[in-house]
Symmetry: C2
Subunit: 123 residues, 2 copies
């Protein structure tokens, strides 16, 4: 069925929505994991986050992240590949994403974030 799901344009990205999206622990963990993945310039798909919650709940959080402009979803067969909208976010809110991610990294224990090595999949 569904072609490419809806994404807001860069200009449509709103600060309060982005902050609200990042304020949920599960979504923050997703964003953090996507940020780690940026370093090896590959994408992650839904299944890579199964540790965080159930599938239907993740679908809900992915939709929020997409609709507020934090991430981009690309449909490929039965998979949906996701990555951060790094360029758009840095253009709209310079330094914000990095500050959030490095703050999250400092509190990784408290936030129960996965360690880096666990994120990058072995291939």
């Amino acid at each position: 069925m569904s072609r490419t799901p809806h994404h807001p344009t860069r200009e449509q990205i709103e600060l309060p929505m982005v902050l609200d999206c990042l304020s949920d622990p599960i979504r923050l963990a997703i964003v953090y994991q996507l940020a780690q993945q940026e370093r090896v310039s590959s994408e992650l798909c839904c299944g890579d986050f199964n540790g965080l919650s159930g599938k239907s709940n993740l679908t809900y959080h992915f939709a929020k992240l997409r609709e507020c402009g934090l991430m981009l979803t690309r449909v490929a067969g039965t998979n949906r590949f996701m990555r951060l909208r790094r360029e758009d976010l840095d253009a709209r809110f310079p330094g914000l994403l990095d500050a959030v991610i490095s703050s999250a990294a400092r509190d990784a224990d408290r936030l129960q974030l996965v360690a880096e090595c666990e994120v990058v999949k072995a291939e």
Copy 2:
């Protein structure tokens, strides 16, 4: 009645709570206004925000901002003077507050934030 209201310690300040607090447009406007006031190193009291909402609703938002560690309230007579917890926030989440405030400033129109000159009270 109430002596100094409760504030979390620096270490108790949590990233998701801070982001959630900043995601509300009224609270973001309050924080923005407090940030402008930092420049003249003075404080603001509740009444200075009456343009944003009704008094009891502001009390509610002030409590949220206090409890999540974003601001400090000092009781003086019948007034409550407030300021950002700049040092604590910069220590816990380096760059975050500045990124949020400058992002808000860029979107001042959209977010309906008061202009700088209106914030600093004439004396």
